[in-house]
Symmetry: C2
Subunit: 359 residues, 2 copies
């Protein structure tokens, strides 16, 4: 087992990464302060792993909330089911919520923990590759609004993150690719050497080679932890973690939540960000080709959906959380391994980039 | 104008108290960082003061949200109207929300600010005596759940609090009394000298003598600021601010939100807490009589509603946020001016106290 620390002063917490962690009660229980616990999961993950967790939590008063699966349910009505269960079973301020599932479950459970009685503890047990390397670390929680993704939420840190790599064995191939999108992102924004390592090892990573995938998760979490520690509430550098996400969120919203996986939208979105960086002359056409090829090799789309026009992109990107005083800000690359957040992009270059979509 | 500081490190903020503050744009604008602002108010306060505020904010992009008045609307559906307006007018992370109204508006606006894009700034302009001395200071925000009051919310501090004492002139007498309940509370929990001062000046306070009411607000806010600075997230001493509130919340929930004013329920609830303190032998029967008389002199009820049974109280008090591991905690007095939070109360004494209600 590996252990990383997210360094946030009195909100610091450990990330445990390894095989067989579901069956290790000590790790979990050492981060709980009361005898009440509420496990929140979905109807895809529950049949696979809820039993393991219940065995580990014998002796606790356990409430289970099994939500419908998918981004389409990341809304207030679903969140309310968590509050209803907590109040129905009279959970008090010492309770611990456990998020068992992918990013949607983690975001909603974290937000429920942030709001229930103005804040109770929670633990992340991410079961998808995407949530293991991204949403479970860093304390971004929330739900969607019909007008935009993650528009309602809180910065709220967990007590601990438990990543059991065994859970990847039950993941569909498409979701492995989606997770690899965020892993590739860390190479693009911060670590050219890691990017080269990913290029060399992509087939083995897609085949879930145990040692390599653990290394990829560990490196990804380490980069994320470092960026989050530098800027917890995204006043500055943290925004680079959104490489490809402004384009990607527009794609997800346009297609209806859940039709494109988040990682797929980020894959295409990162290629768009690289394309814009190349049009600006910040990276070479070789770098663009190389970046596009890494994304493709992970089994991800490198083009936005055919039915999206430039107008669609502009309308949906205007509500991005990085917009300030009406000015769109984008994460672009100055080189592979070096990202920056900027408002200083050429309008024509952006038009050219968006026109990649056959509008 | 008087200015107090709530000392919370990088979340510190000023409370301004005085006459004519609505018309002073400098105070307000100095606490805003963008050009966007969203004023949230209700249909009672809007006709009285919204115009003043709009005049002061000329040059800003102002969104107005006018909500229905009352505790019955302190729920998710109403909160959603704030998010809808913010997204519709494309407010970004630099926006400022302004709560113009009583405690319900302040709590909902603060919670909306805590959650919108994971947190934007807000300013409290409380227009009722109750919210001026209580809910506008200290950062407790939230909404009600059908199963309990303020069960969903956040600790989230404003940028500033502006208390314009002129706004009291339009308040109904019943709401002045409700505000005096919380003012009396500060005397009970922390300041016997202030309690004696209130006893002497109650008729003039009810008549809104300008100098005296400003002094009462200032002293109340100072006590609250001191307690909150010592314990922002209510891990300990802050709970004494809830004197009478466990009983009071039970009364409010039982009667249906809005039928008893919060201050009225707290008035009766404080007398119940004093009664229990006397039954425990912690305060004398003279102190109980004196305390009851101060509450009555403010025009507040000193008995719970006739239709509430002991069983009703026990059921509703079991979901109080101060319950930990199934154990009810109450705020009781060791003397007038000295409160403590305790689980150490006699079961028979509590039964006797609850039986004050003719059940």
């Amino acid at each position: 087992m590996q252990c990383l620390n997210v360094d946030l002063g009195d909100r610091s917490y450990p990330i445990y990464i390894g095989s067989g962690l579901f069956d290790s009660s000590d790790l979990l229980v050492s981060h709980m302060k009361g005898r009440q616990v509420c496990i929140v999961t979905d109807d895809t993950v529950a049949p696979l792993y809820l039993g393991n967790l219940e065995r580990v939590l014998q002796g606790f008063k356990v409430t289970k909330v099994i939500l419908p699966t998918g981004e389409a349910f990341k809304n207030w009505a679903t969140l309310q089911q968590i509050f209803d269960a907590l109040l129905n079973d009279r959970h008090d301020r010492r309770t611990t919520l456990i998020a068992l599932g992918g990013g949607v479950i983690g975001d909603m459970t974290g937000f429920a923990a942030a709001c229930y009685q103005r804040g109770v503890d929670f633990i992340q047990i991410p079961t998808t590759l995407l949530s293991q390397v991204d949403s479970s670390v860093g304390g971004k929680t929330g739900i969607n609004h019909p007008a935009g993704k993650n528009m309602i939420g809180a910065f709220y840190q967990p007590q601990a993150v438990l990543i059991d790599t065994d859970s990847l064995k039950t993941l569909p191939e498409r979701e492995i690719s989606a997770g690899l999108a965020e892993i590739i992102k860390y190479g693009f924004i911060r670590d050219a050497q890691f990017l080269a390592w990913l290029e060399s090892n992509m087939p083995a990573l897609r085949a879930l080679d145990s040692q390599l995938i653990t290394e990829a998760i560990q490196r990804s979490c380490a980069i994320k932890a470092e960026v989050v520690a530098a800027d917890e509430r995204e006043g500055g550098v943290r925004a680079i973690l959104n490489l490809g996400h402004t384009f990607g969120h527009a794609i997800e919203t346009h297609q209806g939540y859940g039709n494109w996986l988040h990682g797929e939208a980020v894959g295409a979105g990162m290629v768009m960000a690289l394309d814009l960086s190349a049009r600006m002359g910040w990276i070479s056409s070789e770098d663009l080709a190389r970046g596009t090829s890494v994304v493709a090799s992970a089994g991800l789309p490198v083009m936005p959906p055919e039915n999206m026009s430039q107008t669609d992109f502009r309308r949906l990107m205007a509500v991005d959380k990085k917009v300030l005083d009406g000015q769109l800000r984008l994460v672009l690359l100055r080189a592979l391994g070096d990202a920056t957040v900027t408002t200083d992009f050429d309008a024509d270059a952006l038009s050219g980039c968006l026109a990649m979509s056959p509008a």
